[in-house]
């Protein structure tokens, strides 16, 4: 639908430019056929002879001491093979965690949130396992609840975690604060005096769920050597491995992990879910154990997006130049740390948005509470900030009497801009341009629901519920733009490994690419094959299944995989190419002087000179040989942010997207229909243009979801989740989702492979505030929270 591509400064590619199916083409997914025939093996499809089913028993209360656990009745049931509690854990290490090992494998004496795992059951039928779990009797003694900033930071607050020793515990002002990151630059208080107008706002961002469709699941098979094989859906095999092996009491080489089919991730598989539990039951029973969460359990089985309170102040001169910004961002991390420290780093360092503001005073914190644990989700701290700073921009524009897009363009960052952290943006930053593009697009026609046969209610708010035929329906248009960092920041050693082999198979030169990258739907496997074709001049590329028999690929998160694992594949291919050419020189160098003198390329299965002269066939060069390279590859190093000033070159790369939302609101019933969500995004270089569109449209739709419907409701009185189902937690259907025209820019980042930019997250940022802005435009309401519910629009 109306998609366009624009090329800015194209990357010069000589090697491989003649090879079909290389980068820049919309080649099709290698797993596409398996996925449309139902043969693709997702983690929940695993099956093994004699396998048992595992079931988790989770806490029914949010914060309590465990007085007693009685497993006798459960254990006595027919078909039950094992029941395990904390006391059955085999190793000294009993906790895990991405950064801080604060999460118990099974609760020890205390539960800290609703749905915390307390016991495990293995049985020969999933229903038997469920019923046995229900027979376990746990006596709880409830403790006071920590549910928000006030209760967490009160001087006499109960501590969610006693005796913290993690690195952040030393610089936080209260043990219920996981991490705090201030950023101070210039003098915001002094600069405020230059402001002709000042706007302040308090914003609330609801708790969003990743809601990937494939539930947490996997199969653990005990091995003869006392180890275990684990087939699982995850975002990062090696990170899982580092957390699993110690609590099993096994060396890492005895835990062999293979990636199963992953039914979406969006951040929700960065943390451990059923991995350790399945292995424990398998090792305990000596039988293969499969665990598959149902949707209810899935809502408790992974971390969510941090809900947030954001307090912002912006000033501007009367001609619209921003003078200063002050903000405080409070993220609710829930009961365990998960990725909270990194989310804080992102929220604070990107809190200013894609704007030039020299004088800032920023603070972001994450709390420990008894709410559900929160961690990674697409956009990762930058989403919450974008919702707030974009609302502020609209407020400021209204107060100045300026066009909201012009105000943004006037203050837009560009290449060379200094971030509040003191880091220079050293690649293209077309913020003003992407705003111009979404604004220049023609608006969809008014009153599209009208037809000669009356109103087509499917086009109206309320849809087939037939709630209006156009009465009370008002249109609004809103804009937003955002900035997301790409890759792991703050000094993290963010590398990836790729093993590439080249050999002759069946008379054809074939490349095999082996990485541990989690293909979660994003199309990394497609891109890896394209890179190999471009770099090695072959058409046949085999993608080896991802496992831990090759080095880490890092996480399929932070918009990083095409950049980092793609970079690793490119690098390993280049090393393979050099070796292939060495073989060629050795074998055939005497036949033609160009072997020694010319720059040689691999194209279409042949060795050619850069002048296009064919020197030989790869089949002949590789006859009797195979070339293999496994190598790590890193992007530019980053630095931690200073804990007092927030200064530091913390980020690798940035990704920018802008949205224009057009909505129609039934003001009487408070129902919203989003008519169109237009996007413009710079992708650096579209390695696979079709996949790029899929990422941008998918990310946009998740942003739409948290604008108008998606929220995990946690009862503030009990800290219990009230809507753990797809009946009560709504994600956008095809009827809720508008047309999403996409305008793709390709302005190369010279620091990145092929000039590419990580793209997966940026469209999730600006989608939400654009929809909110459009609803404000339609209704005139202030709307300081997301998602917007009907009662917020009707005031009832």
């Amino acid at each position: 639908m109306g998609s366009t591509r624009t090329t800015g400064a194209p990357t010069k590619i000589t090697q491989g430019s003649q090879t079909k199916g290389g980068i820049g083409e919309s080649t099709l997914r290698p797993d596409g056929t398996l996925k449309v025939t139902g043969e693709f093996a997702y983690s929940s499809d695993m099956w093994h002879e004699d396998m048992l089913w595992g079931q988790t028993l989770r806490s029914t209360v949010a914060h309590a001491e465990i007085v007693s656990i009685d497993i006798a009745e459960a254990l006595a049931m027919d078909g039950v093979y094992a029941v395990m509690t904390y006391d059955d854990l085999p190793a000294e290490m009993k906790n895990y965690g991405l950064e801080i090992q604060d999460t118990p494998v099974l609760a020890h004496g205390k539960v800290r949130h609703h749905g915390e795992p307390v016991a495990l059951v293995a049985a020969d039928h999933p229903e038997t396992a469920r019923r046995a779990a229900a027979k376990i009797v746990i006596e709880y003694k409830e403790l006071p609840l920590i549910t928000d900033e006030a209760s967490a930071t009160a001087p006499d607050a109960v501590l969610v975690h006693e005796g913290r020793t993690d690195s952040h515990s030393r610089h936080v002002s209260h043990p219920n604060i996981v991490h705090r990151q201030p950023i101070v630059r210039g003098n915001a208080a002094e600069a405020a005096k230059k402001a002709d107008v000042i706007v302040k706002g308090e914003y609330t961002f609801g708790m969003q769920d990743q809601a990937f469709l494939g539930p947490e699941s996997g199969l653990a098979v005990p091995s003869e050597d006392g180890g275990v094989e684990l087939y699982v859906a995850t975002q990062w095999l090696h990170s899982d491995l580092e957390q699993i092996a110690p609590v099993l009491g096994l060396p890492e080489e005895k835990v062999r992990m293979t990636l199963s089919g992953v039914g979406g991730a969006f951040g929700g598989r960065e943390d451990i879910s059923m991995q350790i539990h399945a292995c424990l039951l398998a090792l305990r029973t000596g039988k293969p154990v499969k665990i598959v969460y149902n949707r209810f359990e899935s809502f408790f089985g992974h971390v969510h997006r941090h809900p947030a309170k954001l307090y912002y102040e912006h000033g501007a001169t009367k001609d619209g130049k921003l003078t200063h910004m002050k903000c405080k961002i409070v993220l609710d991390g829930g009961a365990y740390a998960s990725a909270s420290p990194a989310v804080v780093g992102n929220a604070s360092s990107l809190s200013v948005g894609p704007y030039v503001i020299e004088d800032v005073d920023i603070e972001a914190i994450a709390l420990y509470t008894n709410n559900p644990p929160c961690g990674a989700m697409r956009g990762f701290g930058a989403v919450q900030a974008c919702f707030a700073y974009e609302a502020q921009m609209d407020k400021l524009a209204a107060k100045l009497g300026m066009d909201p897009v012009e105000l943004r363009q006037l203050n837009a960052m560009e290449q060379g801009t200094l971030l509040p952290t003191g880091q220079v943006v050293d690649s293209p930053a077309p913020v003003a341009e992407i705003l111009r593009r979404v604004k220049a697009r023609p608006l969809p026609p008014e009153r599209q629901w009208e037809s000669s046969e009356g109103a087509d209610v499917r086009q109206l708010p309320g849809g087939l519920s037939n709630t209006t035929h156009g009465e009370g329906v008002v249109r609004g248009v809103g804009y937003a733009v955002g900035i997301k960092n790409v890759g792991f920041s703050e000094g993290f050693d963010d590398y990836s490994t790729a093993k590439v082999r080249m050999e002759v198979v069946g008379g054809q030169p074939v490349a095999t690419v082996h990485t541990a990258m989690a293909e979660v739907g994003q199309g990394g496997v497609t891109v890896h094959a394209q890179i190999a074709r471009t770099e090695l001049g072959v058409t046949q590329v085999t993608i080896h299944p991802a496992d831990t028999q090759v080095g880490s690929a890092g996480s399929s998160s932070a918009s990083r995989q095409t950049y980092v694992t793609g970079g690793a594949v490119k690098n390993s291919c280049e090393l393979v190419r050099e070796k292939v050419l060495e073989i060629g020189r050795r074998k055939f160098g005497t036949y033609h002087p160009a072997w020694a003198t010319a720059e040689l390329l691999l194209e279409g299965g042949k060795v050619v000179t850069d002048g296009g002269e064919v020197l030989g066939d790869l089949v002949d060069v590789l006859e009797g040989e195979s070339v293999e390279v496994e190598a790590e590859w890193r992007h530019r190093p980053t630095e931690p942010f200073d804990l007092v000033t927030g200064q530091g070159n913390g980020h690798v790369q940035y990704s920018f997207a802008a949205h224009r939302a057009v909505v129609e609101v039934d003001t009487e019933l408070g129902l919203v229909k989003v008519i169109e969500l237009a996007v413009a995004q710079d992708v650096g270089k579209a390695l696979n243009p079709l996949s790029v569109l899929g990422q941008i449209q998918g990310g946009t739709t998740q942003g739409l979801g948290v604008a108008v419907m998606e929220e995990i409701i946690v009862d503030p009185k009990t800290a219990k989740v009230k809507n753990p189902s797809f009946t009560d937690y709504l994600i956008p259907t095809i009827l809720d989702t508008p047309t999403i025209p996409v305008d793709v820019l390709e302005l190369a980042d010279e620091h990145a492979p092929y000039g590419l930019r990580g793209i997966g997250e940026a469209p999730t940022l600006s989608s939400t505030p654009a929809v909110l802005a459009a609803i404000r435009n339609a209704t005139g309401l202030e709307l300081n929270r997301t998602p917007v519910r009907p009662e917020h629009l009707t005031g009832t």
Binding site: R29, V36, F212, G263, G264, V292, R295, V520, F726, T739
Partner: protein, 211 residues
């Protein structure tokens, strides 16, 4: 209990079925047909959609005992199902031009071509031996598959819609697929895929009509 029913044209027998088991469970865990997916198991997401005596249903909401003596078609049997339908009713069900989308609309698709196949890269399709139904092929070609977990249910639902409405408007497509959640794509490429299948079906019908 024992349940006898027909799955993808073959008589099947499931033994030791517990009364509370769903059709979805029996297909996935007892018949070795995991193509129907288990995303919510409460009838909200459509990922487990199968045809029961021709009618699309959420197999998670059908008790296994209810299918005794009946016919079930899953994504694993979709290609065969579509082939039999094509053999019986060549060119699809609806008279050309009578069902909404005009020929012109179908041809506009050509102006925005998707690569049907890429035989050089071996991806996507066109192995002449591969047997995919038109809607399966269109999902691959249009980029409608990402993680793929929603895909089987969407394919069954979209194929069923095209069977009785071969020339759907966008509003028709959205209505017909509104019971199938997708979290990856934002649905745009799924719409493209259904439009593509409809346009190809239409062209094929025209060609066969001209012979």
């Amino acid at each position: 209990m024992r349940v006898n029913f027909t799955v993808n044209g073959r008589p099947q027998e499931a033994d030791d079925v517990w009364e509370g088991e769903s059709l979805l469970y029996v297909l996935r865990e007892r018949m070795g047909l995991p193509g129907s997916k288990n995303a919510c198991e409460q009838g909200e997401c459509g990922s487990c959609t199968v045809r029961l005596d021709g009618v699309p249903v959420c197999s998670c909401l059908v008790a296994a005992g209810q299918v005794e003596g009946r016919e079930v078609t899953t994504v694993e049997g979709l290609a065969d199902y579509a082939k039999h339908r094509e053999d019986a009713h060549p060119g699809g069900g609806c008279a050309t031009g009578a069902c909404g989308t005009s020929l012109q609309d179908a041809q506009q698709w050509k102006a925005n071509p998707k690569k049907a196949t890429d035989s050089q890269t071996g991806e996507g399709a066109t192995n002449p031996d591969a047997t995919l139904s038109p809607i399966q092929q269109a999902f691959i070609d249009a980029g409608a598959v990402q993680c793929g977990f929603c895909t089987p249910g969407l394919l069954i639902a979209a194929d069923e819609m095209l069977e009785h409405n071969p020339q759907p408007t966008d509003a028709d497509i959205r209505e017909a697929l509104s019971g199938n959640l997708c979290r990856c794509t934002g649905y745009e490429k799924i719409l493209d895929a259904v439009r593509l299948a409809a346009a190809r079906q239409d062209r094929q019908g025209l060609q066969e009509g001209a012979v």
